[in-house]
């Protein structure tokens, strides 16, 4: 090969100017044959203490039952090792799957269209907000404090780049967004959008009450609805039904592994009005030369590789494979599976609620109806120390809301899903009782 190329050696071919040649030895994880590499990673895995813990964690990342058939199909090499389906003629399979994903998200949210995915729920919110900014020409957004704090943090980071103002709506005593001052806030027409999440960070259902969306829109402001627990879409009134213009969210619950935080899959769905502002890829159905139905990436004029700095977003690589996992999950579940799963989440979380609040000193923090997680006020004032005590007993009791809300440092967000068992709840209750008596808290 070198001869044909005309190079005398491989080193000649790859030579670089002296000024930039590497002068130090590289310190990189050392080469291991595969049979030893797998042992190395087994040792990493063994250092993950959480493995056998009973868990009531949620807050934007959920444990759900995933049928083995999902991975069997999604991990097929053709799907796993394809690039973006730029060459549609040899990518009809993947393109159709993305079209099906777009359809599922549209059906679940009730919106007109959905894109091929964005990075995750938080970036979906940021990108959705940019859509609203572009649609309205306004440079501020009004966000409920009950929206996931991580999502708001990402929105703030993006907003810093674009010099947008992010203002907050407080939450009310019941755990839903306090809308009492919203009309005043919107009066001067500064805001591109109002952002609410349902179920919100406290687990509470937090859709706009009927009539409110109309009032908001009357000020030229859009409504963005955030869904951090996608399974809730199987049960709750659709974002479209409560007046959302742009629905954004996280699809991890649809069969995607927890994987310590990623990759997950963000989605953006909207009304037809905003279609050409949607970021990222879209697959459309068209015809081929012979008049056969065919799928193809479309409306690419929105995208960075065509429009460069004028694009609706810079996104290129998205989360296609996670969206595929979700699509296969949704296909396998069907409406019946999703409904049964949602029903089990509702049931288990209420069992958990009942069991925990039956313990002296543990009370519900908020009264609003919830889906599969809810906030509990613990005796003694410190959620953190209760959680630490539970941890000693092999239980991850939930998320300390004080991490993000200083006023809630006595409050734990507890989650139960269809994989939560009676035994899990029993053990938690026993441990909480012990914690309470040991600490002498009342």
């Amino acid at each position: 090969m070198l001869r044909l190329i005309g190079a005398s050696s491989l080193d000649e071919l790859v030579k670089v100017p002296d000024a930039v040649a590497i002068k130090v030895p590289l310190e990189v994880a050392p080469a291991l044959p595969e049979s030893e590499l797998t042992q190395r990673f087994a040792s990493f895995a063994a250092r993950v203490g959480a493995t056998d813990y009973i868990s009531f964690l949620g807050a934007g990342a959920y444990r759900h039952y995933v049928p083995p058939v999902i991975a069997t199909l999604a991990m097929r090499g053709e799907f796993l090792t394809a690039y973006t389906p730029y060459q549609a003629e040899v990518s009809q399979g993947y393109l159709q799957a993305i079209y099906e994903w777009q359809s599922y998200i549209a059906l679940l949210t009730g919106m007109d269209v959905a894109n091929a995915s964005v990075y995750d729920g938080a970036t979906a919110l940021a990108e959705g907000t940019i859509m609203a900014v572009n649609a309205t020409g306004r440079k501020a957004v009004l966000v409920s404090r009950a929206v996931h704090p991580n999502y708001r943090a990402v929105l703030q980071t993006y907003a810093d780049g674009l010099d947008l103002d992010v203002d907050e709506l407080p939450y009310a005593a019941e755990g839903t967004t306090d809308l009492s001052s919203i009309e005043a806030a919107l009066a001067d027409q500064r805001y591109a959008a109002v952002v609410l999440q349902t179920p919100n960070m406290f687990g509470a259902l937090d859709a706009l009450p009927s009539g409110m969306a109309e009032k908001i829109k009357a000020t030229g402001t859009l409504v963005i609805g955030v869904i951090a627990e996608a399974l809730s879409l199987a049960a709750l009134a659709t974002p479209a039904s409560w007046g959302v213009d742009i629905a954004v969210g996280e699809g991890q619950s649809f069969g995607v592994s927890l994987a310590y935080g990623g990759p997950y899959v963000g989605f953006i769905a909207c009304t037809t009005e905003h279609l050409r502002r949607i970021p990222g890829r879209l697959v459309g159905k068209s015809l081929d030369k012979d008049g056969n139905e065919a799928y193809v990436l479309t409306l690419q004029a929105r995208e960075q590789h065509i429009r460069r700095e004028k694009a609706t977003s810079n996104i290129c690589t998205n989360q296609a494979h996670c969206a595929l996992v979700a699509t296969i999950y949704l296909a396998a579940m069907g409406k019946t599976g999703l409904r049964n799963c949602a029903s089990a989440n509702l049931k288990r979380s209420r069992e958990l609620e009942k069991a925990v609040t039956a313990i002296d000193g543990f009370t519900k923090r908020f009264s609003a109806p919830f889906f599969n997680e809810f906030a509990v006020r613990v005796p003694g004032g410190s959620a953190g120390s209760v959680l630490k005590a539970l941890q000693k007993q092999g239980i991850l009791g939930g998320v300390d809301l004080g991490r993000w809300y200083p006023e809630l440092e006595d409050t734990i967000l507890m989650t139960a899903t269809e994989v939560t068992t009676d035994a899990d709840i029993k053990q938690l209750v026993a441990a909480l009782q012990e914690v309470r008596s040991l600490a002498g808290v009342r």
């Binding site: 994880a29 053709e78 079209y99 310590y260 590789h305």
Partner: protein, 499 residues
């Protein structure tokens, strides 16, 4: 297409009564929540598991992939994705780990992130990496936010408003700059297909925030004056950004840090063998020089017991780690949770599989393979910059088009018919009728030879019977698609039949 390859939409297959038995039958939702909080109907089909399996198996068979065919898609680094990486990412302890577990219960995961970061630090000569961003474009955005915050901190937020990108740059570069409110200035390449020191000196000034480059650039050419360029930019107080999409040419060869870059990203889904998965998920770590470390996004993985002098990798076995969220100058966070962690596992697995020597050889062989193809086709197609290239090279069908009407696109389609993926076409923008070819190091000489033969055959046919190439593809599931119709009459989803 034989009948058995037909794949109606999943929505047209399902039917009531075909639900799979995954969960016990649940109580009606209205037992738990008021009716008005619930949706009316859930218009999704119930499909038997067999129908689901058959549907997606057939869809997969209609999908071109590395696992089935050679994929010389320039700038995309379509190398083999070792299966051991997936197996490691799927170790239950790592796969099922919730992001909000306390650090002390996630030490193994944090160790993976730390060891990967340290390996990247040494390999690319940066002071630190953040594993936060989800892909290349996301990383560019992160880096430009860092730059913005940096200038703000030093009181230059209002003056440093321009980002300069060469005309060879990927579309994400200008698009990312725009998302941080920068003005984008495009820089013409010189006759050698490179950024010239002179031109850059003309372009930069006190308003220059960042110059974004890649090296080798998207023509596959090494920017041999890179040190002079970065010096010049630093002289006017600007920052240099390295787009790491082409890092597959660089490992063990030269380091962005040594070239003088202040910021960089990597596409782990290119260089580090993470499967593209049909367009994602990716992973785009951002590397920074020392002065920019404080601005990295949160969280950062911090060693809490043994703090090392070394910047590069060393064994993590005796160390303990924490996620650090408390960083005053940080730009904030870029995503819901920490990183595309499963991909960090894959990337570290790849690093362990190769080590420094192996990674160095990866880049050498990637360069060898690309040069071999160039040398094997240059008598039949114009190579605008015909010199030793790096891991990819660019050909132009401009002359061919003038002669025969056959365009770069047509050549790509004709390759599909012959079992090869099309090269990247029409990028970089400065080469008309451009074909960008990147074979990667994982392909055998036989595969390269097969591709070369097909490519040569197509170029010959283009001259003898151009129509035969313009009609391609014909062996594929569908023929060329009406893209105008797709855009004009958008059909982006299935809808239930009205009742």
């Amino acid at each position: 297409m034989p009948a058995f390859a037909e794949t109606p939409l999943i929505f047209d297959i399902g039917q009531d009564g075909r639900a799979n038995n995954y969960f016990a039958e649940g109580a009606p939702l209205s037992d738990f929540l008021p009716k008005e909080a619930l949706r009316d109907e859930l218009p999704l089909p119930d499909n038997s598991e067999l129908d689901v399996v058959r549907h997606f198996t057939r869809l997969s068979q209609k999908t071109f992939s590395i696992d089935t065919n050679f994929y010389p898609l320039g700038s995309c680094t379509m190398k083999y994705n070792p299966r051991v990486n997936d197996a490691m990412a799927n170790l239950p302890a790592l796969r099922d780990l919730h992001p909000l577990v306390p650090d002390e219960l996630a030490q193994g995961a944090l160790a993976v992130m730390w060891e990967l970061e340290k390996s990247l630090v040494s390999l690319f000569g940066m002071a630190a990496f953040s594993l936060n961003p989800a892909a290349g474009a996301h990383a560019e955005l992160t880096a430009l936010l860092i730059a913005k915050k940096y200038f703000k901190k030093y009181g230059q937020a209002l003056t440093r408003t321009t980002v300069i990108v060469p005309d060879t740059a990927h579309g994400t570069n200008p698009a990312s700059a725009a998302m941080v409110g920068f003005k984008v200035v495009s820089l013409k390449s010189d006759a050698r297909g490179r950024v010239s020191v002179e031109e850059i000196k003309k372009a930069i000034g006190p308003d220059t925030a960042v110059v974004m480059m890649t090296n080798p650039n998207t023509l596959g050419l090494y920017e041999d004056q890179i040190k002079e360029i970065t010096d010049a930019v630093h002289d006017v107080g600007g920052l240099m950004y390295y787009d790491g999409a082409n890092a597959n040419a660089l490992m063990g060869n030269s380091r962005p840090g040594d070239m003088g870059f202040d910021l960089m990203h990597l596409n782990l889904h290119k260089t580090f063998s993470i499967p593209h998965g049909g367009g994602g998920a990716g992973a785009g770590p951002v590397g920074v020089a020392r002065h920019l470390v404080p601005f990295l996004p949160t969280p950062v993985v911090r060693a809490t017991n043994i703090v090392s002098e070394h910047e590069g990798w060393r064994p993590s076995d005796e160390m303990t780690f924490a996620l650090d969220f408390n960083r005053e100058d940080s730009i904030g966070t870029m995503r819901s949770f920490w990183s595309n962690f499963a991909h960090m596992v894959r990337a570290l697995s790849y690093t362990y599989a190769n080590g420094a020597e192996g990674l160095t050889m990866v880049s050498k062989l990637a360069i060898l393979n690309a040069n071999y193809i160039r040398a094997s086709v240059k008598d039949l197609i114009e190579i605008p910059y015909d010199e030793y290239n790096r891991h990819e090279f660019v050909a132009s069908a401009q002359a061919l088009k003038r002669e025969t009407g056959v365009r770069a696109l047509d050549i790509g389609k004709a390759l599909l018919d012959r079992g090869y993926h099309a090269p990247t076409v029409y990028f970089p923008l400065l080469v008309p009728e451009c074909l960008m070819i990147e074979p990667t190091e994982t392909e055998s000489k036989e595969t390269l030879d097969g591709f070369i033969a097909a490519f040569r055959e197509i170029l010959t046919a283009a001259r003898e019977n151009p129509q035969s190439i313009m009609d391609a593809p014909i062996n594929t599931a569908v023929k060329r698609i009406d893209e105008t119709r797709a855009a004009r009459q958008p059909d982006l989803r299935w809808r239930p039949a009205p009742k």
